[in-house]
Amino acid sequence: MGRLLHLPTSEEKLIKQCRKGDSKAQRELFNCFSSQMLSVGLRYLRSQEDAEEVLSNTFIKVFNKIDQFKGDGPLGGWVRRIMVNESLNFLKYKRNLFLEVEEENHSAFSHQKLQEDINAEHLLLMIAELPLGYRTVFNLYAIEGYNHREIGDMLGISENTSKSQLSKARKNLQQKLAVNEIIYQEK
C-alpha cells in the first residue's frame, strides 16, 4: 500500500518556515547543522578563522537558496554540499590549487607517538598537515565520497592527477598512523 497520509516531518516544517523568512526557524536550522559543518570546513581549511568565514558564507547561501531545495534528499546533505563547495571556492580564491608545491606542514605531533588515545581532533590535525592538493582530494574522495571524475570536474584537474594525489595522501596518513601504532585491517 502506498502512503495514504503524508504528515510533514519536523524537517519539512522547519524548511517551510525558513522559506517564509522566519528568523526563529532559521536560527534553529543553523544550530542544527553549524557544528558539523564547521568540522567539515576544518578538514579543508585548517584554520578555525577561515573555516568560520566559509561557514557563515555557507549559511547565508543556504537561507537565500532555501526556496531551491527540492527535498529529494536530506537537508543535511544539501547543506553539506554547499559547505564543501564554499570551502573549495575559498581555497581557489586564496591560492591556485596544485600549482603551488606546498611543503608538508610539519608539526611536533605527527612524528611522535601520542600519549593518549587518538581521537577525532588528532585525525583532523593529521589531515590538516597534508599538503593542499593531497588534503583536498583525500577529503573529497575518502570522506565526501566523490569519484575521481567528479573530483576532476570540481577542481579542474585530470582524473589521473586526482588518483595520484589520493595515493600520496594515503601513504602520508599511513605513516602518521603507523607512528601511533594504529592497527587497521588490510583486505
Binding site: 532559521q26 568540522s39 581521537n119
Partner: protein, 246 residues
C-alpha cells in the same frame, strides 16, 4: 569506493558526526545578511507601497500649495499689479540689462507710492530674483523724480554712449532733474559703497557692454525684440524657420 581502502574508512568513520562549536560571530554575520531577506514578505510589500503613495501625495499637496514659478520673474502674491503704460513692456525681468534699470525703479516706485502716498522721495528697490535680498540704493544717490514726468510722451532717453570714467558716483549726489534720468547709472550707484565695488575690468569690454546696453534699451522700451550683440567674427547662419517648419 572509499570503503575498500582501510585508511579511507578509518578516517571517514572516525570523523563522522564530528562537531566543532562555532563562535557566536558566525550567526551574527549570517543573521545580518538574511535580515534583509525576511522583509520580502507580502506584508512588507504593502508597507513600502503605502510609503510611496504617502510621499507622492505629500509632494502633490506641496507643489499645489507653493507653485514653482519661472525663475527671475518677481512673483509676490500679495502685491497688486499696477498697470503701467502699455509701451513699457519690461516686467522687472531684465536685471542683466543695465540700461533697463531706470525703468525698473520707476515701476517699482509707482507701486510703492501707491501704498505710501505720503512719501515724496522714492527709493527704488531692485529685485532680481525672488529669493535674493533686495539691493537698496542710498537716498543720497537717487535723483528726485517728478512722477508726472515719468510717463509723459516727452520723456526721451538719450542714446549717448557712456564712458564709465566720466560718470562718477558723486555726480549723482545732487538732486537731479528729469534729464538726469537719461544717463544710465553705473553699477556702482546701486551699492552704498559704490566706489569700492568698481571693478578694474577691461575698459574696452566695459565700454562695449554699455554701448550695447544703451542701444538695446530703446528696443526694450518700445517692446521690440532684443538684438543679439554682433561680433566681428563671421557667424554661421542657420535658418531655423526651415528646420521648425519642416
Amino acid at each position: 569506493m572509499s570503503d575498500n581502502n582501510p585508511i579511507d574508512s578509518y578516517f571517514k568513520n572516525s570523523l563522522e558526526g564530528h562537531e566543532v562549536k562555532a563562535s557566536p560571530e558566525v550567526w551574527e554575520r549570517v543573521a545580518a545578511e538574511t535580515e534583509s531577506k525576511s522583509k520580502r514578505g507580502v506584508a512588507w510589500v504593502f508597507m513600502r507601497a503605502a510609503v510611496v503613495v504617502l510621499m507622492v501625495s505629500v509632494g502633490t499637496w506641496y507643489t499645489a500649495e507653493y507653485p514653482i514659478t519661472e525663475i527671475g520673474v518677481v512673483v509676490n502674491p500679495t502685491t497688486t499689479v499696477v498697470d503701467g503704460k502699455p509701451n513699457n513692456a519690461t516686467k522687472g525681468k531684465e536685471p542683466t540689462n543695465k540700461a533697463a534699470t531706470p525703468a525698473d525703479p520707476s515701476k517699482a516706485s509707482k507701486q510703492e507710492s501707491e501704498e505710501e502716498t505720503k512719501r515724496k522721495k522714492v527709493i527704488p528697490i531692485m529685485k532680481q530674483r525672488q529669493r535674493s535680498a533686495p539691493i537698496y540704493v542710498s537716498q543720497e544717490f537717487v535723483p528726485e523724480v517728478d512722477e508726472s514726468q515719468l510717463y509723459s510722451d516727452e520723456f526721451e532717453l538719450s542714446t549717448a554712449t557712456l564712458d564709465p570714467k566720466e560718470v562718477s558716483v558723486y555726480d549723482q549726489a545732487k538732486p537731479g532733474k528729469v534729464e538726469d534720468m537719461n544717463k544710465p547709472v553705473t553699477e556702482s550707484a546701486f551699492y552704498p559703497d559704490g566706489a569700492e565695488v568698481e571693478e578694474e575690468a577691461d575698459q574696452d569690454i566695459k565700454t562695449k557692454l554699455y554701448a550695447y546696453a544703451n542701444s538695446q534699451f530703446d528696443n526694450i522700451k518700445n517692446g521690440r525684440k532684443v538684438e543679439l550683440p554682433r561680433t566681428g567674427k563671421p557667424q554661421l547662419q542657420i535658418n531655423l524657420n526651415r528646420i521648425f517648419n519642416n
